[in-house]
């Protein structure tokens, strides 16, 4: 009984297959070691209604101690509302929020051991950098000497030692972000919330700060929940990602999970780009399944069964552009390929994206890594074939 179960579960399947890809970025690999099994926060069936609109709809999550958790979703999907409920600025209409086993749903924000870094940074304009960082410590009535020590330590942590006496308006965007981070870490919270941490930075600074922030969080060892609508940011920084849409959580998993085994079509399209082919299942067995796709003009074969109920035959087959291959000769076999012409080529430096129009009129994206300089490649209007390995495709529903 257990044997076919594991085979039919695509997510475990791919995770076993791709141990090398788990190390997508060096930070992802390093971080996993500090994540512990112990649960720090539990969100139980939380809902939030504004007037009539349901902003957060029956969300349940568990956050483990030490992990960086990202809430990823489009605009208006309720990410900020959920985060603000964790911080205590909004009261959940239903459900409970447990921090270290204690229900904190009704605790006011100033009594929670949770600190938040705001999207606008919210630095106090009339205080210097040092006073900003000391603000939270002063509320705890710590002795003066200890406050001074802790402020110095925080400034050192974010590499801002020389800026203690400055006012926030005398800092650049990146420096303000560091100060905001230092201020929210100064009280050594058990949970740190980041709302769009890179939202106010330009693209280059953003990638720099993503790695630096992760490094700082790692050094402090704080558990962190961040909100972002940038999937790349979520993938670089987080150990686990939750995809939100219309107030509810569609999928929770590691970056590899959500990218390689998306739960449905929406996740596949939201996280990265994907080629989708509509089709109908014609054969479904334990070790393979065949899908008839008029859009491809050919049948699609997948190397595992998907155990569908008999009445739900319509599915989507998703293939990522980097797993779609391009060749000038006709591939062997009767499955997983189509003929077409190159309609457009986007040269992006590191890789090129080919837009291939198949004979059936479907536009397929293929990305090729530019590993050699100026090699022979298909050009505009060339006749090409797209194909993929039977292990590369994923079957999805709406």
């Amino acid at each position: 009984m257990t044997q076919p179960m594991t085979l039919t579960n695509p997510s475990t399947d791919i995770r076993h297959q791709l141990p090398a890809e788990q190390e997508m970025s060096s930070t992802t690999g390093k971080k996993s070691s500090r994540v512990q099994k112990e649960t720090l926060m539990e969100i139980r069936r939380v809902s939030k209604r504004f007037d009539e609109a349901l902003a957060v709809d029956d969300v349940s999550l568990t956050i483990r101690r030490g992990e960086i958790f990202a809430l990823l979703g489009g605009s208006g999907s309720g990410k900020s509302t959920l985060l603000r409920m964790l911080a205590g600025f909004e009261k959940p209409c239903e459900g409970q929020i447990l921090l270290e086993g204690k229900d904190i749903s009704r605790t006011p924000p100033y009594e929670r051991a949770i600190n938040m870094m705001f999207q606008s940074y919210a630095l106090f304009p009339h205080m210097t950098v040092a006073e900003n960082i000391a603000f939270g410590l002063k509320q705890d009535k710590l002795p003066k000497a200890e406050i001074r020590e802790r402020v110095a330590e925080m400034l050192k942590l974010v590499h801002m030692e020389g800026f203690a006496k400055r006012k926030p308006h005398q800092l650049s965007g990146g420096q303000r972000q560091r100060v905001a981070l230092a201020r929210s870490l100064a009280k050594r919270p058990s949970l740190l919330l980041l709302d769009e941490p890179m939202g106010a930075l330009d693209k280059k600074l953003r990638t720099e700060m993503q790695l630096e922030v992760v490094e700082i969080l790692e050094r402090v060892g704080v558990t962190c929940i961040m909100v972002t609508h940038d999937q790349e940011e979520a993938m670089t920084m987080a150990d686990r990602v939750a995809i939100m849409s219309d107030g509810w959580i569609v999928q929770v998993g590691s970056p590899v999970d959500v990218y390689e085994s998306p739960a449905n079509r929406m996740v596949a399209e939201f996280v990265g780009t994907v080629n989708l082919f509509a089709g109908e299942i014609v054969m479904d067995e334990a070790d393979c399944c065949v899908i008839d796709s008029p859009e491809l003009g050919r049948r699609i074969r997948i190397d595992h069964g998907i155990s569908t109920p008999a009445d739900e035959r319509g599915v989507w087959v998703a293939v990522r552009p980097e797993k779609t291959l391009l060749s000038l000769e006709q591939p062997k076999g009767d499955f997983n390929w189509a003929a077409g012409t190159v309609e457009d080529i986007a040269y992006l430096g590191g890789l090129s994206v080919y837009y291939v129009r198949t004979e059936q009129g479907h536009l397929v994206k293929v990305s090729l890594a530019n590993t050699t300089r100026r090699s022979e490649r298909p050009g505009w209007d060339d006749e090409v074939y797209i194909h993929w390995d039977e292990r590369s495709a994923v079957v999805l529903r709406d």
Binding site: A87, N115, A122, F163
Partner: protein, 276 residues
Amino acid sequence: MRKPSFTTVMLILGLLFLYLPMLVLVFYSFNSSRLVTVWAGFSGRWYIELFRDQQILNAVWTSLRIAFFSASMAVCLGTLAAFVMVRFGRFRGKTALSSMVTAPLVMPEVITGLSLLLLFVHMAQLIGWPADRGMATIWIAHTTFCSAYVAVVVSSRLREVDLSLEEAAMDLGAPPVKTFFQITLPVIAPALAAGWLLAFTLSLDDLVIASFVSGPGATTLPMVVFSSVRLGVSPKINALATLIILTVSLATFLAWYFMRRSEAKRRIAMRMQQEG
């Protein structure tokens, strides 16, 4: 010589329109004649007479005290009203509150004055206070209408303040009251100062309401000036006006000077930090 441009001419005309009357007034305050409009040579005698006139000096002192206390009280009440209007979520009667707080702005002064007078008279009959009208009643009356101005000034500033500043303070462990005093107040301090100054000048300036609610014990400066002008303009009033203009200009200049100096100091500190 270059021909002055149209904008320069208009600027000069505008400034003349604004300041010529004051210049004339200052000029005639040094007139030795008793008649205000006839020039009879330079003298400072009206200044000396002004400082001998106990009635005017008393009125100045009364007016200043009333203006100070009214402005301070109005800033407290106006800020509270503004905070409730801007920061509190929807509650019953919020619209009624905000329109009633701002109503005194458009209410004719005669009506405000008359209604306050009636109130004070009835209160005196019912609870025996205020036994006689004077500084206290003027203070209450001025606070009433000055609060409205302060509420408008402060609420417009408060609306601009990023709500997440206050949320950040609470997030860092400051309860709401502490947040208000440590974060909100310092951030809106310029608006409070502006509101206080506005209330101060409005109170100093008010004639109509003060005439309604004052008693024999308290005469404010506008009341003295107005009644003395009805008996014929005395050059003493010119001298008084000149002194007031001088005080105001000096205060403005000092404010500008200190602001510039602190700005320069901060810039130097910044440069030193960059080098160090």
